[in-house]
């Protein structure tokens, strides 16, 4: 499977980009002498590459914003927060999804019936509505935005895990384990989850860009990360206000954002194709 994944140039490029952006998200802020919230009213709106006033010999690689804060530091800090929020929420989604999917799919019966009806009702609500309503009540911040993203993402993963469990429950090897007297827990852990892992990982991977997207929208609406902290979305939002005069303030975070989302999409697509082929489906007649 890995060899198939490697052969897809798009997927490899995506993976490489994710690795590179993650690396810079980790070490980028440390590469400059500034902190993300260091205000300097004497160096507002400096263009990229301008020399620093406070730290002689250093440059503002990507210029400064309306409060004279270093954009390089803020963009990588924002990338870090966007990634952190998206990955954390997907991880929580995954946990909920597996718990739900296994309960509903494996034990089935009345539990499943009731849970399915509840999900059907919840699914009828557009996620953006739940999320914005939630953000109105909660105090803006990292925790509340993560909670909101979890609210938006858990249903899809839960349904996927449930479907996988339902399918795998009927397979020969699960039946074999059952006849050998294995406990439910060991069947779930040893037989079902490892075989569902591929699909679940793909789905999780595919929901990361969605979470990054949603966080950006919320930040753009002013419901996201509060100043002076930054996410890619909030940087784009504040940069947009002075876009016509200082285009780099919006251009740089937009480029990073698009790179990140497209890379995740590419990598997820590549992963799906690689797994699809190993499952024995191909495009030829």
């Amino acid at each position: 499977m890995w060899s198939r994944f490697k052969r897809s140039r798009g997927a490899m490029a995506g993976l490489f980009c994710i690795a590179l952006l993650s690396l810079f998200a980790l070490i980028g802020p440390a590469l400059s002498p500034y902190t993300y919230d260091e205000v300097s009213l004497s160096s507002q709106y400096l263009p990229p590459g301008a020399p620093s006033e406070e730290y002689p010999g250093h440059l503002h690689f990507w210029g400064t914003d309306e409060l004279g804060r270093d954009l390089w530091t803020r963009v990588w800090m924002g990338t870090r927060i966007s990634l952190y929020v998206a990955l954390l929420s997907v991880l929580i989604d995954l946990t909920i999804g597996i718990l739900y999917g296994v309960t509903a799919g494996y034990y089935g019966g009345a539990v499943d019936l009731i849970l399915q009806r509840i999900l059907e009702v919840i699914q009828g609500i557009p996620t953006i509505v739940i999320v914005t309503l939630l953000m109105l009540v909660l105090k803006p911040g990292l925790v509340s935005i993560t909670v909101a993203l979890v609210f938006a993402g858990w249903i899809n993963l839960s349904l996927l895990v449930r479907a996988q469990v339902l399918k795998l429950k009927e397979t020969e090897y699960v039946l074999a384990s059952k006849t050998l007297g294995a406990s439910d827990l060991s069947i779930i852990i040893r037989d079902i989850l490892p075989n569902a892992a591929g699909q679940i990982v793909i789905m999780a991977m595919m929901s990361v860009p969605g979470a990054i997207f949603l966080e950006a929208y919320l930040s753009f609406l002013g419901l996201g990360i509060p100043d002076p902290m930054a996410s890619l979305g909030s940087l784009i939002n504040s940069g947009f206000k002075s876009m016509l005069l200082y285009p780099w303030l919006v251009l740089i975070p937009v480029i990073i954002f698009v790179l990140l989302v497209v890379s995740f999409n590419l990598a997820a697509d590549g992963l799906r194709d690689a797994l699809d082929v190993t499952l024995g489906t191909s495009e030829d007649r």
Binding site: L133, L136, F240
Partner: protein, 312 residues
């Protein structure tokens, strides 16, 4: 079939009730009341509370709230336009949002379908990777980025369109927001259509149609498209949500006086009644659309139609 209709409608109604419940709880849980910060005396506050029905027990208030919503009475705005009926505010702004949304959805799905079909049919030509790259970018770039780009290039630099919405040129003013919103549905529909068409075109019944000596055009129009459309329809509905999300941001960027920008304003100024009412409207719209799609699905796919008829 009737059974299925009833079940779907029942679920939709339940969903709506749940939304109203959540809205109600949230409105009550919001920090502060509409009257905080107005330095009112206790008895004045009491009068106001009675006037707005805030002194009733929770249950009664919920049903009163629900009843009012169903009558189209969303209450009044507290801060944005003091005491103006929210319903009136929505009514004034709804047409513009609907117009932009419909233009975007229509353009997005038609172009998306077209691109998907040609790239599937011309699978081995250069057109196919071109469409793939296009749809990758379209689904990877959020609509606000498109909006910013369009605004900068076509409006600010080239001057072809007004930068911000202007009531004097309403038609021209909606074009850029519509394009920005259309990119996401277009890209996704193109992607799904391509995948569906490729799998349909390699199915046995297409071979049969070729064996019958039908022309390529007829095979695509009569045999492939209908079968490919069924799964595409299901992904179009969730796209509406993206459209709603996008419209809030895009309206804000272009200063379009629609629901989306009103929503952002109401959030920023803490006019919860307005925010919640807009959310209600969006949910209602979404639920009704999902219902229609499900029913339409039954019409297009005879397998579903008949299995339901027999299942009764």
């Amino acid at each position: 079939m009737k059974h299925f209709f009833l079940k779907r409608i029942l679920i939709s109604v339940l969903t709506l009730l749940l939304i109203v419940l959540v809205m109600f709880i949230l409105l009550n849980a919001m920090p502060g009341t509409p009257f905080t910060g107005r330095h009112l005396k206790a008895e004045q506050l009491e009068v106001l509370r009675r006037q707005y029905g805030l002194d009733l027990p929770v249950f009664q208030r919920y049903f009163k709230y629900l009843f009012n919503l169903l009558r189209g009475d969303f209450g009044v705005s507290y801060t944005l336009q003091k005491n103006m009926s929210v319903a009136e505010m929505l009514r004034l702004r709804l047409p513009l949002t609907l117009r932009i949304g419909l233009q975007a959805m229509l353009a997005g799905s038609l172009i998306g379908l077209f691109l998907g079909i040609i790239s599937a049919v011309r699978h081995n030509t250069l057109l196919d990777p071109l469409v793939s790259v296009l749809s990758l970018l379209g689904s990877g770039i959020p609509s606000f980025v498109f909006a910013l780009g369009l605004m900068y290039v076509l409006a600010f630099r080239a001057g072809l369109f007004p930068v911000l919405y202007s009531a004097e040129t309403p038609v021209k003013s909606t074009i850029l927001p519509s394009i920005a919103l259309a990119m996401f549905p277009m890209a996704n529909i193109a992607r799904y259509t391509r995948a569906e068409m490729i799998s349909v075109l390699s199915s046995d019944y297409i071979s049969l149609a070729e064996a019958k000596g039908l022309s390529e055009g007829r095979i695509i129009a009569r045999h492939a498209l209908r079968n490919a459309l069924i799964p595409i329809l299901t992904v179009m509905a969730p796209m509406l949500v993206e459209l709603i999300t996008g419209s809030m941001v895009v309206e804000n960027i272009f200063s379009v006086p629609g629901l989306g920008s009103l929503f952002v304003l109401s959030v920023q100024s803490g006019d919860y009644n307005v925010s919640v009412s807009i959310m209600f409207l969006y949910s209602l719209f979404f639920i009704v659309t999902m219902l229609c799609v499900d029913l339409l699905y039954g019409f297009i796919d005879p397998r579903i139609r008949l299995s339901r008829r027999e299942g009764q």
